[in-house]
């Protein structure tokens, strides 16, 4: 049961397809009945909204009015909107800083607690604690830590969140703090599967710790790291809770992310069509990056 990524389900092979009338048996009805509640919820609350979300991006739709088809107007407006570009820039910078830092932290700590020793379980538990803590709580306390009254603020003599240059690094630090335990566990699970014999053989061949890591362990970790990279990219593209609570996108929009923009347009100005267009942009961006990651991963293999 320790697979790192959901394995795609396959229809069970080897069984010849049964005659169609067998489906009408009570068993088939029952199967349908068992699936139906979830499936209907799914259609209404996930599938439907996803379709409508894409469609809505071609409409002008605000509170109290009926939707009006405007073709690509929302997207044209988006490309002209300096706020969109600012949000995109912030989101990309955040991701570029967050991704390597969080994966490196996860990897480093996973390697440190890899072998069991007295206390290793305790360390693992401690490192996982931030993962289960709500981002709102994290944001609340880190706001103080970074303020000019808090220790991190005192360190630089000013509030991080008031600085246009330090606000994103501050948000990255909180994100890494809250997520590295998750990545650590994913990597640890994979590390358990690295055959001991491989490493021992390398040791006998006189390979030092770095060489063993680089040539034996790291190649084995590749799938787990890829999985993490995809998950963490998605997470950081969608960063919202922290920004909403800690900075509201400020100061002067220097931490204004795409989801903040979507939230503002959707629920501040109730410009629902434009907000949907921003949602579509986010979706396209996510797909695009996932694709790039897949290509890179494939090539380095």
């Amino acid at each position: 049961m320790t697979v790192t990524a959901p394995a795609p389900p396959r229809p069970r092979s080897g069984q010849p397809p049964r005659p169609r009338k067998r489906y009408l048996r009570p068993e088939a009805l029952l199967g349908l009945g068992f699936v139906l509640p979830v499936f209907l919820l799914f259609l209404v609350f996930r599938f439907g909204p996803a379709i409508v979300g894409v469609l809505l991006s071609f409409f002008e739709y605000t509170l109290g009015d009926s939707p009006r088809f405007t073709g690509f107007d929302n997207f044209v407006r988006m490309f002209d909107d300096p706020l969109f570009w600012q949000a995109l820039k912030v989101t990309v910078i955040f991701t570029v800083l967050y991704l390597p830092l969080s994966i490196a932290t996860s990897l480093g700590l996973a390697l440190l607690v890899r072998r069991s020793f007295r206390g290793s379980k305790l360390f693992r538990s401690v490192f996982f604690l931030p993962v289960i803590t709500s981002l709102v709580l994290a944001a609340t306390i880190f706001t103080w830590l970074f303020s000019s009254s808090g220790p991190l603020g005192k360190l630089i003599g000013d509030s991080w969140l008031a600085s246009t240059t330090l606000v994103i690094p501050a948000l990255v630090i909180v994100s890494v703090w809250s997520r590295f335990g998750y990545g650590m566990l994913i990597i640890l699970a994979r590390l358990q599967d690295v055959p001991r014999e491989l490493e021992e053989a390398a040791l006998v061949d006189g390979a030092g710790p770095w060489a063993r890591f680089r040539h034996v362990v790291l190649p084995q970790l590749r799938p787990a790291l890829f999985f993490l990279a995809v998950i963490e990219t998605t997470t950081s593209f969608q960063v919202f809770d922290l920004v909403y609570v800690m900075t509201g996108g400020g100061p002067a929009r220097s931490s204004y992310t795409l989801v903040m923009a979507l939230y503002d347009q959707g629920f501040q100005y109730f410009d629902l069509g434009y907000a949907s267009a921003l949602g579509v942009a986010l979706f396209v961006l996510t797909l695009f990056v996932a694709l790039i990651q897949r290509v890179l991963m494939g090539r380095s293999k």
Binding site: M1, T2, V3, A5, P6, E27, G31, L32, F34, V35, P37, V38, F39, L41, F42, V44, R46, G48, P49, A50, V52, G53, L56, L112, V113, R115, F117, F123, V126, L129, I132, T133, S134, V136, L137, A138, T140, I141, W144, L145, S149, P151, W177, G181, I231, T234, T235, F237, Q238, D241, Y244, V245, V259, G266, S276, G279, L282, F283, T286, L287
Partner: protein, 276 residues
């Protein structure tokens, strides 16, 4: 032989130091949260504010005595617990059918579930909100809960797990004349206990910590969850010690759940990629 890869003494000490430092950094925000919540209103200046003594519990008096926090805790509990029960029920039923039943449209349904995991939540957010708003779900518990019940990952996980159970178990019961419903209730569910515990914990955590959806749906002060309420307190310039007292209160049940169910949680993370 097995000791060959063990670090030497120097390495062990270095590892210990690294881990200790990392632990302190990890724990420090929690420490700060609790200590600051026990300070008087204006005492926020570091480092004095992080000395634990003397303790001042006025923030907790304010938070627990008639404030909104007890109500918000109740809301959060309802949101989390009802969702957990319903998600477990719905997804184990569906998971059982997907794993062990044959019926028309099965593959299509299953694949559409999986495909939707790829679509970011935020694409669906606006229409979902309009839908719930039109249906009168703003500021209601059902508006909060019902849209979150369509949990594709939960269905997937249940299908995976039930798929590993041997068919003979069910066949025997069927020969004995047990109804399908009975088989589900007396054979499938008990066998699923470990996975239900894992899944239940995740769904609980996810709902307890959820922010964006309750922020949209729970608009009145009375319908806020803890996360939304604490964010609002901060916005309304409530003194830091009071906000952090609220945060500490919100943290306690999560911490308790963690202590009890840690094993299930860590297994759950490694089993699949459920987001924490």
């Amino acid at each position: 032989m097995t000791n060959a890869l063990r670090p030497r003494l120097g390495g062990k000490i270095l590892r210990g130091v690294f881990l200790a430092v990392a632990s302190v950094i990890t724990i420090f925000p929690f420490y700060a949260m609790i200590v600051l919540s026990l300070k008087p209103v204006a005492a926020v200046e570091f480092p004095r504010s992080l000395v634990p003594w003397p303790i001042d519990t006025s923030s907790y008096d304010r938070v627990l005595g008639g404030g909104d926090i007890p109500l918000w805790t109740l809301n959060t509990l309802i949101y989390s617990v009802v969702s957990v029960v319903l998600v477990l029920l719905l997804s184990s039923l569906a998971g059982y059918a997907f794993a062990k039943k044959r019926f028309p449209g099965k593959e299509t349904m299953f694949w559409s579930f999986l495909a939707m995991v790829m679509v970011p939540y935020h694409v669906t957010l606006i229409p979902l909100f309009v839908l719930i708003a039109e249906a009168g779900g703003v500021d209601t518990y059902w508006g909060l809960i019902v849209p979150t019940l369509a949990n594709a990952q939960a269905v997937f996980l249940m299908r995976q797990f039930i798929g590993t159970l041997p068919d003979e178990l069910f066949e025997a019961a069927k020969i004995d004349g047990a109804s399908e419903w009975r088989i589900f209730a007396t054979i499938v569910l008990p066998l699923c206990k470990p996975i239900l515990a894992t899944l239940g914990l995740f769904v609980f955590l996810w709902h307890w910590n959820d922010f964006l959806w309750p922020l949209l749906v729970g608009k009145s002060t009375d319908m806020r969850t803890l996360t939304v309420g604490i964010a609002a307190l901060q916005e309304e310039n409530v003194p830091l010690n009071v906000v952090l007292a609220g945060a500490t209160i919100a943290f306690v049940p999560i911490f308790a759940a963690y202590l009890v169910g840690q094993r299930y949680l860590t297994e759950g993370v490694t089993m699949s990629g459920i987001k924490g």
